[in-house]
């Protein structure tokens, strides 16, 4: 479908492998594993959907989300999380994330969410 996906996660192997898998499924995917590189990457080549791991060292995840939602609100963000709890969900909603998904991910579920997010992103731009 050509949807541009940016993966932001500090676990290199996870990010790169997922990148490859999504690539096999037709998504244009990049992986960023250093938090500081995330925003520049978004600015230089804005994606349609961002897969964001909140639990990166230094609480950068939330900052990145807030910043992105600030200057590029049309980009939809899906949160990657180790465990689902009420607090997490609430925080996600508060921060205007599109959805969240548990790690280890079910690839089918993930692609489903990515597609939905991409659609919304397209609507946002119109």
């Amino acid at each position: 479908m050509g949807t541009k996906v940016l993966i932001v996660d500090d676990e290199v192997e996870f990010a790169t492998t997922l990148c490859e898998r999504l690539g096999l499924r037709g998504y244009e995917t990049r992986a960023i594993c250093v938090a500081q590189d995330a925003l520049p990457a978004v600015k230089s080549d804005p994606p349609d959907v961002i897969l964001l791991d909140l639990k990166m060292p230094g609480k950068n995840g939330i900052e990145i989300l807030m910043t992105v939602k600030n200057f590029a609100p049309e980009i939809e963000v899906i949160l990657l999380t180790g465990h689902m709890s009420l607090d997490n969900k609430l925080e996600g909603i508060k921060l205007d994330a599109f959805d969240c998904i548990l790690k280890p991910v079910d690839i089918k579920e993930l692609t489903g969410k990515i597609d939905k997010a991409a659609e919304k992103s397209k609507l946002n731009r119109e």
Binding site: G82, H83, L102, K103, P104
Partner: protein, 236 residues
Amino acid sequence: MEPNDEETLPALHLNFIGKTLSVFTHEVKNHLAILRESVGLIGDLAEMGKLSSKAEIADSLQVIQAIDNQIGKTSWLCTQLNRFAHRMDKPFSTFNVNEALEELSELLHRLANQKRIAFQKDFDKDIPPVYGSPAQLELLVFRIIDQHMLRLPGGGAIVFKTGHTKDSIKINIIAEGNLLEYNEEVISHDDICEHIVRRLGGDISTAAGDGKVSITIPLSFPESGGEFDLKKTKSS
């Protein structure tokens, strides 16, 4: 001087957590071992070039599926541990009794399996959330499970049944199978259990004869419940 219930409670609680972690660890190790084997197998197949024909590919896909399953199981276990661990963030919180019992049975079922006892869940789907101390409740249930397991030397099942009334939650922990008679060493619940239930503002009782222990916890937290009450503990 014999320490009273209030004083031994923290030690017992830490003990319980330690035990739970221990059981968890053993289970995870098992899963990981299986995982390693499966991965190793695929490796061997790849090594031997046995990944060309359709049949071989089908086989290897099965192995990979097995890997997937293992991961699923292990991950599920981690989720339970995580939930369990977060119970201790705050002394009191609003929680779902079914979830608390679920993570407990998931984390400890290996313990029961070793004794050929199965954990079964019979949960009330519409159970309301309750405000209290989930960690303490789990400790309490753990102690009861412990006693039940002693009464089922030949194996059997322990059923976790939940229900609710207008203003309380009911938890029944039922031992099924050939039950040993109660004696000095095997009791349904001890003073510590009573103490914890009191702290939660609830009630505990054992139906005579059958192995059913009933715990009732009020939905709304009583004013004095949970607070350290000198009068109540100085019963000795």
